[in-house]
Subunit: 364 residues, 3 copies
């Protein structure tokens, strides 16, 4: 058996504080533009099956029990106690929590307490801009406040991130270099003038300014590869090479082999393992093996991508650990890898790479 | 063993009525821009090997016998009797027959009789336009006749389709919304004026008009994702969401994981399993497993994609059934899925999803 | 066990003549825009693990020994003797050597002698242009010298190639047809006027002229599919169909299934198996199986892609042979293929297809 140290979940969000009925629970399982089609359910997905395999035993039920039975048990225990059991059963020792997702989600401290783990914050850049815009009267004040907020976040958080829907991939594809100060002032002025309180950043110049501010801060930057795969980010990857930046690419599936290739080609690029495994369930080993084709083993980082349901955090970790054992153990059995190497690589993917990239041992 | 009900082959064509020699048979096996390269043969493909594995036993020969021996036996029995044996040995209970492919192919009734199965028609939109153009004198008459033909087809057929080479993917990529009435009249006028009798529809405005007419009819619409994968169809998918349309995407391989992602993201999008399995033979299980990563299990539909040779219908079904048993059975053996779930999902992919999407039980 | 004849390595380069330290050796293992990231090493890659699995036994050590120990043994034997043992242990009988890579590399004769094999030259088109430019005084002389060089090379070499970084994929994507004589003269004049001695060809019109000169010569042409996959080459593939040209597409991973599809669709297109296998190590069987999905078996050609380190030539061959045995043997065990067919296809991929495409038996 391949052994792993306590996992570092390098990209997740908090869990919902509310009690959940069957419909609400189901809606959190899958990213979809609408409800399941008539006659179908989101439980009939790899994610749904993986939740039914791994989570019932953590709450004292048989694996694969019916969703209604699982939800009844979850209500019986209460959401908070269920969450504790799920998180503590996942084998995760450290959470890096992206605090920018919408909804009434627990923060890093609460997640750490529930999971008996440590937690660090990943700060979402567009939230800093939106907060600065809410409180600043002029363009100059906004830009100064934003710079201060980035500087302040850099001393407390372990990384910066930017939301998957912010549209920065297209912005960087069109112009990967940092915008000039005049461009930034102009874009900020137009955005502030047109913006209603709380309105999101979508301006491509401001998004590029945010990302380059993060690069300048010296913290790692988590970037979502959007629907078009990692290709639109290639220019930004080239432009940030050799500057001391560390990029972590999230969410490349089904173009994850292209993401792995970028991680092989550029010293400062890393690739996330996360949702590609959690969402593919019984296929996680196959997807993990594809990521391990071209990516140097020091460049792949586990995450659950969990958001809202602690089931997703737990399943992400348990599916990853099983897939890792199956894939690396299989290569050892074939004679392709040695046991010693397999154990060492397992530790790198599970925790070591994240500890190094995010300098967690300096945070302690 | 995973059990499946009689299959619904949700996308196929008729079979050739003529007796076939070795060269003609070989030419039907593979989609190619020309003959096999010097020194090679189309029998040396996964399709060729799958035909040699599955079909000889249905005609009383050993698996993997030489092509010449198989063809001799086929001639000995006669094309009609060989076709009956092949179709009846496939385990298919229902054929949805796209009647728009060229060549002297059997229609739905003939296929049903030969295969001891039921059959329904999938009407090709561009054929309706070409027939209306052949018989209408004016633009107004053409458009009225076309509307009537769509309306009439909607009451008899189970779905609309559009040919893979019609170029509609590019047309929808450029402009996914329905064209306005004036645009349609203009395009119809230009096309009718320039057209020789029997000439195909290639005008992007008319193609969009046809597709939106199908959407308005309420029948499911089968769409081929072309060489560029499903990306060019994304705009049309978004534009038809929430309108009651049902889209079935055909032929996404090798971008089938992107197709599965669309089926996960949009309630009205479904994905075909067909030729990606039949054409990859010994690899069908691997491709099926990839489709099962992200697609909700209620969104995947079996087909053979068979055309011309009844061998292709039979191989599509037999390869699918074996791959399904191997993949789902493997997950059960690993503990990732329960038997009960595996059996239920097998029934959905084999027949249940198609019966629901095409409302076959209302047709009986 | 699947048996293969002595392999034809249809695309490799020479090996370095210098003795190598640990750092120099590591730098040759992986294609990267820089050194490994802090805290990581290129030995922790599938290529590194495959070298550690296969090469130590050829030098009398245990598999998977530490890199430093392997390098010490390599220095003890000397680079030349190590190279001989590695090459002779690879099972390769014939090398097609692309002589256009930079560095102090052995040529075909030296490689043949070291490996106890035969070797043929693949001539790089852009080198012919650069040599003609170095020695010709006028545009007319340059073009005449270049035509002579292509003609001369065609009588001695077995194929033409063009470097992966020359940018011809983009040039062909923009304009797949041969440029006219006036265009060529204009482009040559501009290039010669601006060029410093030894400067590389990057002009798209000259690159297209070179490629079409190779097509006209009747020799096969090896084309690298660049970072964007084989799509940009599609226009050139169409334009060269039916002209007697033979194209061999190199390096399609991770878009190798698209490359296989082109090989299925066009009689004159072939696909290289090479670095996609050597660089993915323990995953080579999975990648090989993907290539075998759609490509006709007469269209796939083994290569190592080895360059600089004889370890890469050896690993390419040994990984290929093992992967081939595992994949085809598995299909035989499943009943999907017969033994006889598996043996025959193994021989085609290992040697037969290359012997036919490059007409090696006419060279002797």
């Amino acid at each position: 058996m391949i052994e792993t140290p306590p996992l570092v979940d390098q990209h997740c969000h908090g869990v919902l504080r509310t009690e959940l009925g069957l419909a609400t629970f189901e809606a959190q399982l899958v990213h979809s533009a609408g409800p399941p089609a008539a006659g179908t359910t989101f439980f009939d997905t790899q994610t749904g099956f993986a939740v039914r395999r791994w989570c019932p035993p953590l709450l004292g039920l048989e694996p694969h029990c019916a969703p209604a039975r699982y939800l009844a048990r979850r209500r019986e225990l209460g959401g908070a106690e269920s969450g504790r059991r799920l998180l503590r059963g996942s084998g995760v020792g450290t959470y890096l929590v992206d605090t920018g997702a919408p909804g009434d989600l627990t923060g890093p401290k609460e997640l750490a307490l529930a999971g008996d783990a440590e937690a660090f914050e990943v700060v979402r850049l567009e939230r800093l801009a939106e907060q600065a815009a809410d409180t600043s009267g002029t363009v100059a004040a906004f830009l100064a406040d934003l710079a201060g907020a980035v500087h302040h976040a850099a001393s407390g958080a372990v990384a910066f991130g930017c939301g998957p829907h912010a549209g920065y991939a297209a912005a960087l594809d069109a112009a990967p270099e940092p915008p000039g100060p005049g461009e930034v002032r102009g874009a900020a002025g137009r955005w502030l003038a047109a913006r209603a309180r709380g309105g999101p950043v979508r301006d491509p110049v401001l998004l590029r300014h945010l990302l380059w501010s993060a690069v300048a801060s010296g913290l790692p930057l988590q970037l979502h590869t959007g629907g078009a795969g990692p290709e639109p980010l290639t220019g930004f990857v080239r432009a940030t090479a050799g500057l001391g930046a560390r990029l972590v690419l999230l969410g490349g599936y089904p173009d994850h082999r292209h993401t792995a290739r970028l991680a092989a080609a550029y010293p400062h690029v890393h690739a996330d393992l996360g949702p590609a495994l959690a969402r593919t369930g019984a296929r996680a080993g196959a997807v993990l093996a594809e990521l391990l084709e071209l990516a140097p083993f020091g460049k792949l980082l586990f995450s659950s991508g969990g958001c809202g349901l602690p089931e997703l955090h737990a399943v992400g970790a348990l599916v990853f650990r099983e897939a890792l054992g199956r894939v690396l153990g299989g290569w050892v059995a074939d004679g392709a890898w040695s046991w010693r190497d397999a154990d060492r690589v397992a530790g790198m993917l599970a925790a070591g790479n994240a500890r190094r990239v995010y300098r967690l041992d300096e945070r302690g």
